[in-house]
């Protein structure tokens, strides 16, 4: 076989033969790689192989575009992302193109929301291609990869639903773990990014076009041939290649473009494809592009960062930052001007022009591979001046971060960098050597500040950069947020926390801003907008508010909100409606949604809808787990409606009626069931007694409650106490009887250990039966006085815990009552007798009560008409007892 690579092929085959005992497929692999290169060079549409986040690829592409500007660029990027590209003009990189679908239609719903991101950095070939095409209207940029919808079709369900799928253009890394391990070990490097940097990136940084292309295809071919076959990933890659070439041929057919004017920018892995469908020849077989599903995709640009890219694609920390630093350094050194989409920077041709690379003529192709393979890696490391500068800067940075570093350290870092480079076989230190040297010389026993030396080196080499999406490229919702917050007078794109003070009395026009901020607070993650003072509760209004705004750093969150609707109100409404319709929704969540709609949206129609849903949910519930939450929320809502409107809304009335019947029905089961806690029972009783005055008006019957209480037969002492309290509230158990029962308990040594639980029950009963407060104070005092220590002491922590969990409702009641009962000063204490003891002394108490009752009796007997009339109204016969007899 003849051709430019014949000599190399022969040499490799001889080497394979020399390695007797090697794998049987070795000659095929080695010769195949050279054949792949040869094949790519013969393709009429020039294939430009790239690697992700590789400055060498970007530089080579810039040189190629400047030397011989193409008219059509085919790019390995999802075809549906094309409309987004023009928006890149308004962004500061790195940003990511995003496709988002909240509700998949025809795709697996379990993975929702579906999100795909394609991060772009300035130091990437794909961005240079896009920028070139955007800057020149005569250039057509055709995105040829599968659409987002196709990416998700047939994709296995992810482990973590909702996580964004990252897509890289030109992902190039050994697929075989053993190959990567082998390369790392023999390359004497720590991780893949370092290997790539040393053996490909740096030797190719200054390479000519032909060398670059041949070497990249060779590497792509090597990884392809050593990739484990038959994997799902391999099949997907082949499908994509078929798709891309089908699209390219369709475009060529449709436009009749000259193949010599076209450039196909794709990952080196795909460049080396030998599929029959790969190639621009019209006779090549094509594939039928399947239809998309009905899923509605939304597109936008979101800010990305170097660290996010590294984390998403499993790159070594700092590698993307280092690539960015290398890109800038090389640009400075070579005087090359990169392309910018807006064409803001003047495009200067300062580069000594490389001869235009031949497109198709195989005769002029020369073998550049032999030289590359023979030469040892000649790293394009740091020059002495640059290294010195870095050492000095690093020491300064370290000092600022609390390290006791000095000039001596700068010298040591310099020396160690050079020595390390020597030990690792490099002529000049690379940034990785510098980083290692800095850690060796400056890092001591502990890190004094927040950042360690490795992190400081990353900062020095450019640091983690976060992109920004400009106002014009934002979705309507995000723009709307910016416009509506404009009266605050802040630069919302600033990447810092800004404190906004809203004096709503002096500047009532800021109330709209306040409303919006509260809505954003509800919708966005915690740190985006944070109220410092001021609150939004039912029945309360703030006169002044202060907010910490950090929208600049959380631009992505606002943009993603923009995929859900056009205004914040619309999104909020959708979210509230979704919250009450989702499968796990309960009456409590629906009441919360009602409350939020009242707080944020003030839309009676929405509030009524949500309230109606709350009634439905309550009717369908079979448990009382949320009773306390329901009670708390309903009380708040009732108080709000009573204070603001003449009548309760219809849904409220229905909720009360439904709740009354619901809890009455479930009360006996709740009292008897072990799975229902005393707290829930307390809350149920609370609901029933709180609404006792209201419910009959909506058609409820009090006897239903009485029957329910009569049917309840708890065994748990806490619940028994609750039941007693309930019966007392209903008038079925007088206080004297209650007191007698408690006395019995305290006097019976067999039940004494359970007394604390009774007391706990009475404490819980304070919420539904607040008028029991004096009795609870008495009961507590009795318990403290009479319970033996072995019973009392273990119970105390539990009592405190119970009181603490109900601090807001119970503690004020108990303390107020205790304040009323117990003397306030020491002097009073000496003469003080507990009221319950006083009652026990028959003489004094009876005299007082007797004298009062006798006077009243005498008065009523003297004027019987009023009393008789009341008795007649109540339907009692009414008999007057002889004077002097007491009624009880």
């Amino acid at each position: 076989m003849s051709g430019p690579f014949a000599a190399l092929r022969a040499q490799l085959l001889a080497a394979a033969e020399a390695l007797t005992g090697g794998p049987a497929g070795l000659p095929e692999i080695l010769a195949g790689m050279v054949d792949d290169v040869d094949h790519v060079l013969r393709e009429p549409v020039e294939i430009f192989p790239v690697c992700h986040h590789s400055p060498a690829s970007a530089l080579a592409l810039v040189r190629r575009l400047r030397a011989r500007p193409p008219k059509v660029i085919y790019l390995e990027l999802g075809e549906d992302l094309a409309p987004l590209l023009t928006e890149l003009r308004h962004c500061r990189l790195p940003v990511a193109l995003q496709a988002f679908a909240a509700e998949p239609d025809g795709l697996p719903a379990a993975a929702a929301p579906l999100s795909l991101v394609v991060p772009l950095t300035e130091a990437s070939a794909e961005y240079q291609a896009i920028a070139y095409a955007l800057a020149d209207p005569g250039v057509e940029l055709v995105l040829v990869d599968r659409s987002t919808d196709h990416v998700f079709q047939g994709r296995p369900e992810p482990d973590r639903p909702g996580e964004a799928v990252g897509v890289e253009i030109g992902g190039l890394r050994p697929r075989l773990a053993e190959l990567e391990e082998h390369l790392l070990r023999h390359g004497r490097v720590r991780h893949w990014s370092e290997w790539w940097d040393q053996y490909v990136e740096q030797p190719l940084a200054g390479a000519d076009h032909a060398t670059y292309r041949q070497v990249m295809v060779l590497i792509g071919s090597l990884f392809r041939r050593l990739a484990p076959p038959g994997t799902r990933r391999h099949a997907t890659d082949e499908d994509r290649e078929r798709h891309m070439w089908t699209r390219i041929r369709a475009h060529l057919d449709a436009t009749g473009a000259d193949r010599a004017d076209c450039l196909y920018v794709c990952g080196a892995f795909h460049a080396a494809s030998r599929l029959p469908e790969a190639g621009s020849h019209p006779a090549a077989p094509g594939v039928t592009i399947t239809a998309r599903t009905a899923t509605r995709w939304r597109y936008g640009l979101v800010p990305a960062s170097h660290s996010a890219i590294e984390a998403q694609f499993g790159l070594a920390p700092g590698s993307v930052s280092l690539a960015a630093a290398t890109w800038e350094r090389t640009l400075r050194r070579t005087g090359l001007t990169p392309f910018t989409p807006a064409g803001r920077r003047a495009v200067r041709r300062r580069l000594p022009e490389a001869p235009a690379p031949p497109a198709t003529a195989a005769a002029t192709v020369t073998d550049q591979l032999t030289g590359y393979l023979r030469r040892p890696a000649a790293p394009d490391g740091l020059d002495e001046e640059e290294l010195r500068g870095w050492c000095v800067q690093l020491v300064r940075l370290a000092r600022r971060n609390g390290y006791p570093a000095g000039t001596a350290d700068a010298i040591a870092v310099f020396e160690t960098s050079v020595l390390l480079a020597g030990l690792r076989g490099r002529a000049r230190p690379t940034p990785y050597d510098f980083q290692d040297a800095a850690v060796t010389c400056v890092e001591k026993e502990r890190v004094p500040g927040r950042r360690d030396v490795r992190r400081l080196c990353e900062i020095l080499l450019g640091g983690d950069r976060t992109g920004q999406v400009g106002y014009a490229a934002l979705p309507p919702l995000a723009r709307d947020v910016h416009d509506r917050l404009a009266p605050l007078g802040f630069d919302l794109e600033r990447r810092a926390v800004q404190r906004a003070l809203l004096d709503l009395t002096a500047r009532p026009e800021l109330a709209a801003c306040s409303d919006l901020l509260w809505m954003l607070r509800y919708l966005l993650p915690d740190r985006v907008v944070r109220p410092i003072t001021g609150s939004r509760r039912l029945g309360a209004a703030s006169l002044r508010e202060s907010w910490d705004l950090d929208l600049g750093r959380h631009q992505r969150a606002v943009i993603e909100l923009g995929y859900e609707g056009v205004t914040v109100e619309q999104v909020l409404e959708q979210r509230l409606r979704r919250a009450v319709r989702q499968p796990g929704a309960t009456a409590a969540t629906a009441l919360r949604a009602v409350e939020h709609s009242l707080l944020f949206l003030r839309s009676p129609r929405l509030t009524d809808d949500l309230g109606a849903r709350a009634v439905e949910l309550l009717a369908a519930e079979r448990t009382v787990d949320d009773a306390s939450t329901v009670l708390r929320r309903l009380r708040r809502l009732l108080a709000h409606h009573r204070a603001t409107a003449p009548a309760l809304p219809a849904w409220c009335e229905r909720f009360v009626a439904e709740g009354y019947a619901h809890y009455c029905t479930l009360l006996p089961t709740a009292f008897a069931g072990e799975e229902t806690g005393a707290r829930q029972v307390g809350a149920m009783l609370g609901f029933l007694f709180t609404l006792e005055g209201l419910a009959p008006a909506f058609g409820c019957d009090r006897t239903q409650l009485e029957l329910a209480v009569r049917q309840s037969h708890p065994r748990d002492p806490v619940k028994i106490a609750l039941l007693w309290a309930a019966r007392h509230q209903l008038g079925l158990l007088p206080l004297a009887d209650l007191r007698a029962r408690v006395d019995d308990l305290l006097g019976n040594p067999l039940v004494l250990p359970a007394v604390p639980q009774y007391v706990s029950g009475f404490v819980l009963a304070l919420e539904p039966v607040p008028r029991l407060a004096p009795f609870v104070v008495e009961m507590l005092s009795q318990a403290f006085a009479r319970l033996p220590d072995p019973v009392l002491l273990p119970w105390l922590p539990r009592l405190i815990a119970t009181l603490r969990t109900h601090a807001a409702e119970l503690v004020p009641v108990v303390t107020r009552e205790a304040g009323r009962t117990f003397p306030a000063t020491l002097a009073e204490l000496d003469v003080w007798t507990a009221p319950w003891h006083a009652r026990a002394e028959p003489g004094a108490a009876r005299t007082t009560a007797g004298s009062g009752a006798a006077a009243a009796g005498a008065l009523l007997a003297a004027h019987p008409a009023a009393t008789d009339a009341v008795a007649a109204l109540l339907g009692c016969a009414g008999e007057w007892s002889p004077r002097g007899e007491r009624c009880s």
């Binding site: 040591a412 020396e415 160690t416 030990l423 040297a437 060796t440 010389c441 001591k444 026993e445």
Partner: protein, 372 residues
């Protein structure tokens, strides 16, 4: 060599070092016997790509970057301080580096609470001083001073165990590179020859006992040796050290690889349990380091060899007994943890997998019962 219980690395690997020196054509700093690349190769072992005629076995298992940073530090102006948890191989690395660079690893000062400045600088032979007065002849140089005079590597073990004034004696040695002997009128300065440097080790668990002054910190490059968590590396280390041990004791006892797996697995389990524990009482007192694994195996091998059943192979029962014996330091806390482990983890595993785990279960139970 045959009369040494444990030969230092330069004796143990003398043949290999001689051969490496003969093939080494790289540039050598100062008076180093090997070039930095060869030092790295001696420590980490060779592979085919190194193009050597004979293989060099790895002697220290860990990150290549750590060794490179250590070697480079020794070629620079600063001393090397290896910091890490007990049992991470700091001293072994120090010994290997000193042996490869200067063919002597025995110039060691052992740092203890009783170490004085004389141990770092010099002291006097009192009877000679009485007989002949103070002179170079009546001076007893410390290992560090000897290293300075000969231009080789001196070692300082457990630097942070010594008091601050003793540590600070190193400051002038590391910066001025000489030691003044004011007692002598002439010839009263001992200068360091090129090639001198110090490798010190410090146990990170001793932090806060005697912290290094910032002046001394500046004169050392700190290289942190992480605990081995990679199962494969750990297996390599244990196998390497056990082979060495068996050879040293001339014991012909086979350690089945499956038993090694049992040991590694049980240590991994106990480490996970220690990490999940909330209080010290739920955590074994032992640090569960690789060195302790080697200690357990060493104990088991010796026990199996002298008191074993004579099968020529180490049994799982013996291993379990040694493991319990080595780890149960506190009674009842450690015993309770081991008892829980044996019943909660080893027992079901023995049921599911059988094999060595069955013997391991029995042996462990017996040992726990004996200690309880």
């Amino acid at each position: 060599m045959s009369e040494m219980l444990r030969a230092p690395a330069e004796v143990e690997y003398a043949a290999e070092l001689d051969w490496l020196e003969s093939v080494d054509d790289g540039p050598k700093p100062f008076s180093w016997r090997l070039s930095p690349k060869m030092v790295r190769l001696f420590v980490l072992g060779s592979d085919r790509a190194d193009g050597l005629d004979r293989p060099v076995r790895p002697k220290w298992f860990g990150d290549r970057g750590i060794v490179e940073r250590a070697v480079v530090t020794l070629a620079s102006d600063r001393g090397l301080l290896l910091v890490g948890d007990p049992g991470t191989g700091k001293s072994w690395l120090a010994e290997l580096l000193a042996a490869a660079i200067s063919r002597t690893s025995t110039l060691v000062v052992q740092g203890t609470a009783g170490t004085t400045e004389d141990h770092v600088r010099y002291s006097w032979n009192v009877s000679m001083v009485i007989a002949h007065g103070q002179s170079r002849a009546s001076m007893i140089p410390s290992p560090i001073m000897t290293a300075m005079r000969e231009g080789v590597i001196g070692r300082f073990e457990e630097l942070t165990r010594t008091t601050v004034d003793v540590q600070d004696a190193l400051i002038s040695i590391l910066s001025e590179k000489y030691v003044a002997v004011p007692e002598l009128d002439e010839d009263n300065i001992v200068f360091a020859r090129p090639g001198f440097s110090i490798i010190a080790t410090a146990n990170s668990r001793d932090r806060g006992v005697h912290d290094l002054s910032s002046a001394l910190q500046r004169r050392f490059n700190f290289v942190r040796i992480p605990t081995v968590t990679n199962r494969r590396s750990e297996a390599e280390i244990v196998r390497f050290r056990t082979t060495d041990l068996l050879r040293r004791h001339r014991i012909a006892l086979e350690v089945p690889p499956t038993l090694l797996d049992v040991l590694l697995q049980s240590f991994a389990d106990l480490r996970a349990a220690a990490a999940a524990a909330t209080g010290d009482d739920e955590r074994l007192e032992s640090a569960l380091s690789t060195a302790e694994q080697i200690g357990v195996l060493e104990d088991a091998v010796l026990h199996g060899s002298f008191f074993g059943a004579g099968t020529g192979a180490l049994s799982a029962e013996t291993l379990a007994g040694s493991l319990v014996g080595a780890l149960a330091r506190r009674s009842p806390e450690d015993l309770a943890i081991l008892n829980k482990y044996w019943h909660g983890v080893v027992e079901p595993r023995s049921r599911d997998r059988g094999g060595d785990w069955t013997g391991f279960l029995e042996g462990g139970r017996r040992a726990i019962a004996a200690l309880s």
